[in-house]
Symmetry: C2
Subunit: 479 residues, 2 copies
């Protein structure tokens, strides 16, 4: 921990160099650190506590809709990975291979899972007999590995933590309903837990998951106007169930291949949190996902009774909120204010001799720096209200940015000029051709994010080639 | 799912072939299945739900004593593994190596963590500056890999799930206190959650963890009298902090190496649960760790009002207990009784037309098959009492077995004859020499389990060589 009182000086300005600002926050807010294993990070207690909040919320939502947790092996024999053509093409280039173990060369290479469709499908084939066994609605919380060339903490680590749900169903409709249901849960997590507004839509053919029939996504906008693919839900149809022979006796007594889905969200969400809400004072956490919601900073803590009062207040509030007292005697209150602002704690309570005299404390909001005097008599209710208000305000601030940085374009000149002046999301019509997608990317750096469910008729011509187009696509530069 | 009504016939008799009985239970109770990755298993929803119960209980206890969760990379560069001599000797033979990734040969091999002392120590060295930063009390829930030659589901899988805690401290005493504190938590988990009585002690030199100064263990006895090392807590002293240069400025302003511990428990506990409590009817779960504590089986469920009543009862009980109604119309009540006994559900409630008339239901205990009529008026209290009683009774049954199958031996003839007649634990004096330990193993198959904290003066001579001995050791064949 640095002795420097001025944390703000230590961070790169958010609008000057956003990438460096991001790295500074990850390190200074003690979320994670670079590990000795190249491209990998060590997630520190404060970063992991955020992940635990996300896990707890998500897992509860999953269980409410019948998801059961399981665990499948981290190592996948090469022959399994090979079974679905698109899948192996998509993932083989970025896997890590185990070739030696227990002092011997292996007969067959084993890859560390980049995702688990193949190993899980193999087991499903073994377990499924009759329509009565269906559906399987299983999920696992685990680590995965993708050998990325360029890495960034949380956003693109070679190893990351995630959950991957894998389901099989009796009918295509049921599988599609599940795909959508899980997308809705991700949207709930993003908006209500993380205070990040999202846009729901379907990926274009070239952006979908390797092996999927269709990929649904929630897309969000970061501080700098770039997009983050926040979570995805895939409908596979029978793409995997055929090569993996996941079949069952249907209600008519005939053999049929099951219909499959998968859906995932990862520690990337922590990257999204940082880049959605942070500012020049540091991280800014929405109360619902903050490991510490309230930090109590005693003023003049050497004076009699102050620390005791701070502890009493903590005990009282701990029944409802996640609270910490910073009673370190090495640091001044001013240092502590900066320290906890850097860590993104939503609300600070200051309590000193004069506050105690007046039976009050001073609350300072992290989201807008507002100071509020609160009577100790009814403090629980007051704080509940303030925290809900912070949560709501943080969502609204992101929503406002999303709206301000979203523009329509009807031709490539418009497109380019918007992207240069106000990097953000662009709504534009698309003819459906891969060539136009590629050209747009080449000219502007923007990729198709999704064909949003909420369509708008901007024109009837492709923004790129000018030919007939009936789909509005959202485009953006991405993380 | 099998249509066979007679589950019991499908299981090998527990006293005829315990090893096969064990495998039968793992498969038939749907805890896990063999995966396509050799030596690895897929943990099914029911098995994983048990693990989630264990995790929740353990993690809560950890957090009460200040443990914080973190996550470190699964891949460890070979050079790190090499840093502590004993450690690398102990683990290198059973690791799996990643040698290719992202389409290229790697310059340095990366091993999949068999345990994380080395990678974590490297980061601790980076993070530690002053005594004010101490202690670090971090834990991770993760997967590890050890390339075992012979594997058994849960007991010895190449990949398994566990938690590993890693701490560093200012003083040796503080580190040793932490080592013991965590051993006490493991003992709490084993005895109060899993209803498995344990013996606490210290491992002999030859049985301790590779690189540890001393290893503390909780040992339990399985149905067949063999021992299971249930969890371990290691005191490292400065064995790792010196080679890894984990040093800090102490209160006198001098540089000093920190004192370290690590402690772990794994999905092996599920194996212990099966082998401690199971019988010829199947798995038997203590209520505190049972994913389903109560199964309600409607009798004559086609009759009007029966299923409704069963659901009502479930809703009422679900506020307090983990409850399921088995309303499958394909199966008879008799089939369901067997099915849920196989799954080890602690309490079955039968509710049929006559029960409803009498405002009661019939409760059947899994631990002793006792049938009890319970009035619906006060059923919550009655069931609470019954479940506590089952939990207690299951612990007592194991305790009784542990006592009955523990014997003293003063010479090798006694030792051998006891081990042949009544395989179990043997208390015997030991001179402290490795040669005697090896000879005992050679002659009887029994290894030293621990030098228990509770010593008993059996004699003053080593059971093997007859020379002076002041330590009583517990010996047993092991899993």
């Amino acid at each position: 921990m640095s002795d420097n009182n001025d944390f703000v000086k230590d961070i790169t300005n958010i609008d000057e160099n956003f990438a460096q600002w991001y790295t500074d926050i990850v390190i200074k807010a003690e979320l994670a650190d670079y590990a000795d294993t190249k491209g990998c990070i060590a997630i520190k207690p404060y970063g992991y506590a955020i992940w635990e909040c996300i896990q707890a919320y998500t897992d509860k939502k999953f269980k409410e809709v019948g998801v059961e947790n399981v665990y499948f092996p981290v190592l996948i024999p090469e022959s399994l990975l090979q079974k679905e053509k698109d899948h192996v093409e998509g993932f083989a280039p970025e896997v890590a291979w185990v070739t030696e173990a227990g002092g011997e060369k292996l007969d067959e290479r084993l890859c560390i899972r980049p995702t688990s469709e193949t190993i899980i499908s193999t087991m499903y084939a073994k377990w499924l007999n009759s329509w009565r066994d269906l559906p399987f609605v299983y999920n696992q919380w685990c680590n995965v590995l993708r050998w990325e060339k360029e890495t960034r903490p949380f956003l693109r680590s070679r190893e990351f933590l995630w959950q991957e749900g894998h389901t099989i169903h009796e009918t295509a409709k049921e599988a599609m309903d599940r795909t959508m249901q899980m997308l809705d849960i991700y949207s709930d997590v993003a908006e209500n837990l993380l205070a990040i507004p999202v846009i729901k839509g379907v990926k274009t053919e070239s952006e979908k998951f390797a092996g999927a029939d269709s990929t649904y996504t929630i897309e969000s906008m970061m501080h700098d106007g770039r997009a983050l693919q926040t979570a995805t839900s895939h409908y596979f149809g029978q793409n995997f169930t055929k090569p993996f022979e996941i079949k069952f006796q249907n209600r008519e007594g005939k053999e049929e291949y099951a219909y499959q889905t998968s859906w995932g969200s990862s520690t990337r969400l922590i990257g999204g949190l940082i880049m959605s809400h942070g500012d020049n004072r540091g991280l800014k956490l929405p109360p619902n996902v903050a490991p510490i919601q309230i930090v109590i900073v005693p003023i003049a803590q050497h004076k009699e009774g102050i620390l005791k009062k701070a502890e009493e207040l903590k005990d009282r509030l701990s029944n409802i909120f996640r609270v910490k007292v910073d009673d370190r005697d090495k640091y001044s209150p001013g240092y502590k204010f900066n320290y906890w602002e850097m860590k993104g704690v939503p609300l600070r309570l200051e309590i000193g001799p004069r506050d105690i005299e007046n039976n009050q404390c001073v609350a300072v909001r992290r989201d807008n720096q507002e100071k509020i005097n609160i009577s100790l008599d009814n403090i629980e209710n007051e704080i509940s209200k303030i925290l809900s208000n912070i949560q709501k305000n943080m969502f609204e601030m992101c929503k406002k940015r999303l709206e301000e940085k979203t523009n329509d374009a009807t031709n490539m000149n418009e497109f380019k000029s918007i992207m240069e002046k106000n990097q953000g999301f662009i709504n534009a019509m698309w003819c459906g051709k891969k060539e136009c997608e590629e050209k747009i990317k080449e000219l502007t750096g923007a990729k198709s994010r999704c064909i949003p469910f909420e369509q708008k008729a901007i024109s009837n011509k492709c923004v790129c080639c000018g030919k007939k187009a009936d789909k509005m696509v959202i485009w953006a530069r991405q993380y």
